[in-house]
């Protein structure tokens, strides 16, 4: 029986706490008597027969939907869309859950005699997936059957000939999605719901959308009113997507939604990485020796080698649930299953929130975690891992641990480089950035060309990363990065500290002496349910 997550009140006997620190780790002693640590729950029991569970979900849909079998017929146009490389994190060991589901769906389609099938990686403005990444996601069998004929491909949000305008929401938001998907008799969308934010109407309304459509909810105003992204009912981002979802449905686009949840088994129960998901006081002599050896080795390795090691890690996630059918009914059950693994009750707020940022975020899989992504991961994602209220009070301090090197992947993140050099050197205010710079980056022909033909994120993507963190930015009084490159951290508008005690000292200027602290022991993922 896996133990649920819990809150540890730090006392003098509490051992140093693990902080992820990019491609390394730190062990930090938190002040006793005024600190608490939010620990994630242990991995839930995975389904024993995932393929059987998938077949059952397809045959017993939720909400107002017929079984998939009944929706398939000869002569129809079927489009299977699936989440891109940004999910799950880290990528999971083969077979990926998308492969399992897509094979099950295609098997039913073959049985029904469906000939016209397309598979689309729903990546919105993310970079295109490479062949190896697509193969990992859908499996060799599906890739070899469809990709050579051009029937498995990445969504292109800048291809005017392959976008369909479906209408406008009552709030004036334009809805434009992939034309092939829009004109299909049925879209089957395969989701991996890593966090509560994923899935629902956001799958189609965001994953298959164009810039024209995305700009209506990926903007500063919407992001600031999303408190938090992980709580759909308090997220303006989701409200906008739900309005767009209604437009999609009213336009006659039929969607069969499949959502899946994974357990917290990020680093496995054996092997050197397993120590990362154990509680520090339960580390055995072997765990300690492994950790010491691993850290010593990593600290002596060049950054590129460390990055290669970490990026090659494949998480042994287990499937905990799969549900299919009508979008909203499915998403309701999925969210409950995500919370079952991640949600931990927390009493009240503290003055300081600390977090160790790992080597990966949704936008640097097989890539480099640049400073903009550090900001996005810390203030956009980890800060938002709450329901109710943030674990830190308004005007409090966020302390993040990450090397924050001044380094960018030139192929994946070309517009990030210019954003960092040209935009952040002038201002870090999201409202000003949006007003002065967004349009020129979003419509830049060179970025557009790289997005469509190379493996680059769209020109506007770094802006979205900045907006993603703007709620956290406006909410907190100060952001400190421990162990970060001073120049890069300063460019982000934050303060750099060499050690955690230094950072806590610096935080005193904002929150006073003897400030209370919450540490988010993340990953594996944990979400605070703040009362």
């Amino acid at each position: 029986m896996p133990r649920p997550g819990f809150v540890l009140d730090v006392d003098r006997s509490t051992p140093p706490i693990l902080f992820h620190h990019g491609e390394s780790f730190r062990l930090e002693k938190l002040p006793a008597g005024r600190s608490r640590v939010l620990y994630p729950g242990e991995p839930l029991q995975a389904l024993r027969d995932p393929d059987g569970a998938i077949r059952h979900a397809l045959d017993h849909p939720l909400g107002d939907s017929e079984p998939l079998r009944a929706l398939l017929r000869p002569g129809m146009r079927l489009t299977i869309c699936f989440d891109d490389i940004s999910l799950p994190l880290p990528p999971m060991r083969a077979p990926d859950v998308r492969q399992r589901i897509i094979e099950a769906v295609l098997d039913l389609a073959a049985e029904a005699g469906v000939d016209d099938v397309h598979l689309i990686a729903a990546l919105a403005l993310h970079r295109r997936m490479t062949e190896a990444e697509l193969r990992h996601a859908v499996g060799d069998r599906v890739y070899d059957a469809f990709a050579p004929d051009g029937l498995l491909y990445n969504h292109d949000a800048e291809d005017p000939g392959n976008l369909a305008f479906l209408g406008t929401t009552p709030d004036g938001e334009e809805v434009e999605i992939n034309k092939r998907a829009a004109e299909s008799d049925l879209i089957v969308y395969v989701n991996i719901n890593m966090v509560a934010m994923d899935g629902g109407h956001k799958s189609t309304a965001t994953g298959l959308a164009s810039y024209r459509s995305l700009r209506h909810h990926h903007n500063v105003q919407t992001m600031r009113r999303s408190t938090s992204f992980m709580d759909r009912h308090s997220s303006e981002l989701h409200s906008s997507n739900w309005r767009m979802g209604k437009v999609v449905r009213d336009a006659g686009v039929k969607i069969f939604q499949i959502e899946t949840t994974l357990n917290n088994d990020t680093f496995g129960t054996s092997g050197p990485m397993s120590v990362l998901q154990k509680r520090e006081w339960e580390w055995s002599p072997r765990d300690r020796a492994t950790f010491v050896a691993m850290k010593a080795g990593l600290d002596r390795m060049p950054l590129k080698a460390r990055r290669k090691i970490f990026q090659s890690w494949r998480a042994p996630y287990g499937l905990t649930s799969v549900q299919a059918g009508e979008v909203e009914a499915v998403h309701e059950v999925t969210t409950g299953n995500v919370f079952r693994q991640q949600l931990v009750e927390l009493e009240g707020q503290t003055d300081i929130l600390t977090m160790g940022l790992p080597y990966i975020c949704p936008y640097n899989v097989n890539s480099v975690m640049n400073p903009i992504l550090v900001m996005c991961l810390g203030l956009g994602y980890f800060f938002n891992m709450y329901r109710g209220r943030p674990p830190v009070r308004e005007g409090g301090v966020v302390i993040m641990s990450h090397p924050t090197t001044w380094e960018f992947h030139p192929v994946h993140h070309p517009s990030y480089i210019d954003f960092f050099e040209q935009v952040l050197s002038e201002t870090t205010d999201p409202v000003e950035i949006e007003a002065r710079f967004e349009k020129s980056f979003a419509e830049d022909e060179w970025y557009r060309h790289l997005y469509r033909t190379s493996y680059a994120y769209h020109g506007v993507h770094p802006f979205y990363m900045w907006y993603w963190g703007c709620h956290g930015l406006a909410y907190t009084g100060k952001v400190i990065i421990v162990g970060g490159d001073k120049a890069a951290v300063r460019r982000l508008g934050f303060s750099a500290a060499s050690t955690l005690p230094d950072a806590l000292e610096m935080a005193q200027d904002v929150v006073g002496r003897d400030a209370t602290i919450t540490h988010l022991h993340n990953p594996p993922l944990v979400m605070a349910d703040v009362k």
């Binding site: 024993r48 027969d49 393929d51 083969a94 077979p95 492969q99 094979e103 295609l106 098997d107 073959a110 049985e111 005699g113 000939d115 099938v117 499996g139 060799d140 069998r141 599906v142 070899d144 059957a145 469809f146 050579p148």
Partner: protein
């Protein structure tokens, strides 16, 4: 030329002759269908076999066949439980067994025994011992229906060993497959274990029946989803399911997974046995036998 026979050594230096009218009591058979292979499943022999497969078999297979292994993920649900399995594959070449021995994953690789023709592999004491040691072969009588063979195999499966069997009963004579015999299906129904269909493509190009020297070529081994007999399946009906599954894998190897699934659901999967036509038309329908043709060295005529 006059040949002279060497004088026979006198008893007791040679075996005694048997007086007429008397029968010697039957000893332990040293070859044939009743050859006792139990010794080959004891730890020293298992260790020797593991070393043989890894140190000799694997490099040889890599050099000759360079197998591309597909569908191993389909075995994941079985791997967790580690239950015994029957691997049923098509059969083109003597190379099929080493290719499979190096392709079948743990936990089955080192608890695997192979059903081998008693009249071929167990002809002499030497071949019997070699077959038992190298591939953990257990004799099967293929010339007659024998309860003893079936009982022996079933006992081993019940004891936790997995079976590698070629249900065609022998290597392909012409490149096409042969109808499956019922042994694998019978054992699956009797022992309640799953059958994993396996398709091997390309070994016939390397060392087909009748050839003595191998010629390197690429191969592909495709593992299918495990099959379990349905409640209404008898051995005969389940045997048809197994054969269809291997045929579908052959179709998958020849085309792609999607085409193969569509044809399988439409009942239009090409059979393993090829067209029902004599002579050249069967050979013609096989197509180009060599996918990876070696570049011919240009030769000038000798003047």
């Amino acid at each position: 030329m006059v040949t002279r026979r060497l004088p026979r050594l006198p008893f007791p230096l040679s075996a005694p002759t048997v007086p007429e009218g008397l029968e010697t009591p039957a000893g332990r058979p040293r070859s044939g269908a009743d050859y006792d292979t139990a010794w080959a499943r004891r730890y020293p022999a298992r260790l020797a076999r593991a070393a043989l497969v890894e140190a000799v078999g694997r490099p040889v297979v890599a050099a000759l066949a360079d197998p591309r292994r597909e569908g191993l993920d389909r075995l994941d649900p079985l791997r967790r439980d580690g239950e015994p399995v029957i691997f049923a594959a098509n059969h083109h070449s003597h190379l099929d067994t080493p290719v499979l021995l190096t392709s079948i994953p743990e936990p089955w690789r080192h608890t695997l025994f192979a059903g081998a023709a008693a009249d071929y592999f167990f002809r002499t004491p030497v071949t019997s011992a070699l077959a038992a040691l190298a591939i953990n072969a257990v004799p099967i009588e293929r010339t007659k229906v024998s309860r003893r063979s079936a009982d022996r195999l079933a006992e081993l499966i019940d004891a936790g060993w997995s079976l590698l069997i070629f249900p065609e009963g022998g290597r392909s004579p012409d490149g096409w497959g042969q109808p499956f015999r019922g042994g694998a299906a019978y054992l699956a129904v009797r022992c309640g274990v799953p059958v994993v269909p396996v398709h091997i493509e390309g070994t016939g190009r390397i060392l087909r029946k009748g050839r003595t020297l191998p010629r390197p070529a690429s191969t592909r081994v495709t593992f299918g989803s495990p099959l379990r007999p349905a409640p209404d399946h008898d051995a005969r009906r389940f045997g048809v399911v197994v054969e269809q599954a291997v045929a579908a894998l052959a179709d998958e190897a020849a085309t792609d997974w999607w085409q193969a699934r569509r044809r399988a659901h439409a009942g239009a999967t090409p059979t393993l046995t090829g067209p029902d036509a004599p002579g050249w038309r069967r050979a013609w329908a096989l197509g180009d036998p060599s996918r990876r043709r070696r570049r011919q060295r240009r030769r000038w005529p000798e003047l």
